[in-house]
Symmetry: C2
Subunit: 202 residues, 2 copies
């Protein structure tokens, strides 16, 4: 039974896991469900959501939980429980701002979307990215504990999606966050994957 | 330097951590910031949010990350990495439905709130709680891996808040989820805490 990741034909919430699997040297089936196929697949997903990770016939959901699990195999976790807490906390913080930007992007009501846009671009994005930049600076160009961990993978994978959602380069004038992203994307296994992966908007 | 948890004078996102600290037998300062004091405190919080956990002069944010860290001390985690993945995934799933119900509760626009209410009570809540009940049944009255873990603590602490937000007993006719909640609340250290803790709406 092959290791398998099932997700949309998108980077989205799947790409961090794909980066980690590639970095860990784990061979996997990169199953991509089209939007046409999704209504047929959805009822078979535990909470109607993807990604779904499969290993040795067992399945698991939740992108961040799966990423943490692969990160342990890849030795991209903390050296002790406090370091893991620092890594987990920054991942959840990046997820917070990801959710806020995604909520704006997927809002279908035009008036409501305009309302969200104002607060998001004037307050929320500057607030979060100023603080994230400071954290990356304090950690010498990493998101946590001053060295490469899966928090960097999560940030690098998510930011390219968020740039598309926001319609702007969120890392402009944020040199330390740019360093985080380019470090992950320059890792040979990740770089090789980026060169060959299916091209999608986000 | 005492171990300290700083949060609102609420159960909210702090109560799971308080349960875990009590269960682990860790003495801590239960610092409660009033809504009047909060504007003064907010700028000192890493991302303007609580809870904040302090231990040996170091601080950490993000309620789920902190809960996982305390759970390791309390030996309420998995026996292996796959079990931890199962626990993490169900915690994140409970957090998903928590966020949806909280979004409804805190929506200030009356029309928007009415819109959210329809979908939430007709579709989202029945969908999630049917599946969570099945998971609790499969796990013999626990949320994961068939025995007591911090996923049970998270569920028990969050559900009493969600019942208030939803204005209804979300566990009605869900006997296995009721078992999860009552098991946690019956643990001597947790029961003792519940008896003496400050009384708040949620």
């Amino acid at each position: 039974m092959a290791t398998k990741l099932t997700y949309f034909d998108l980077r989205g919430l799947g790409e961090c896991i794909r980066y980690l699997l590639k970095y860990a040297g784990i061979t996997f089936e990169d199953v991509r469900v089209t939007f046409e196929e999704w209504p047929k697949f959805k009822p078979s997903m535990p909470f109607g959501q993807m990604p779904l990770y499969e290993e040795k016939g067992k399945t698991a959901t939740q992108s961040i939980a799966i990423a943490r699990y692969i990160a342990k195999k890849a030795k991209l976790v903390g050296k002790n429980d406090w370091e893991d807490l620092e890594i987990d906390a920054i991942v959840d913080t990046v997820n917070d701002i990801r959710q806020k930007i995604a909520q704006y992007y997927f809002e279908s009501n035009a008036e409501q979307k305009e309302n969200l846009k104002g607060t998001l671009f004037k307050d929320t994005i500057p607030y979060y990215f100023e603080r994230l930049e400071n954290i990356a600076k304090e950690n010498s160009g990493y998101m946590a504990v001053g060295r490469l961990t899966w928090a960097d993978f999560y940030f690098a994978a998510v930011i390219s999606v968020l740039n598309h959602f926001a319609g702007t380069d969120l890392l402009k004038d944020r040199p330390n966050l740019q360093t985080v992203k380019s470090r992950v994307e320059s890792l040979p296994a990740v770089k090789k994957w980026i060169d060959v992966r299916p091209k999608t908007d986000f």
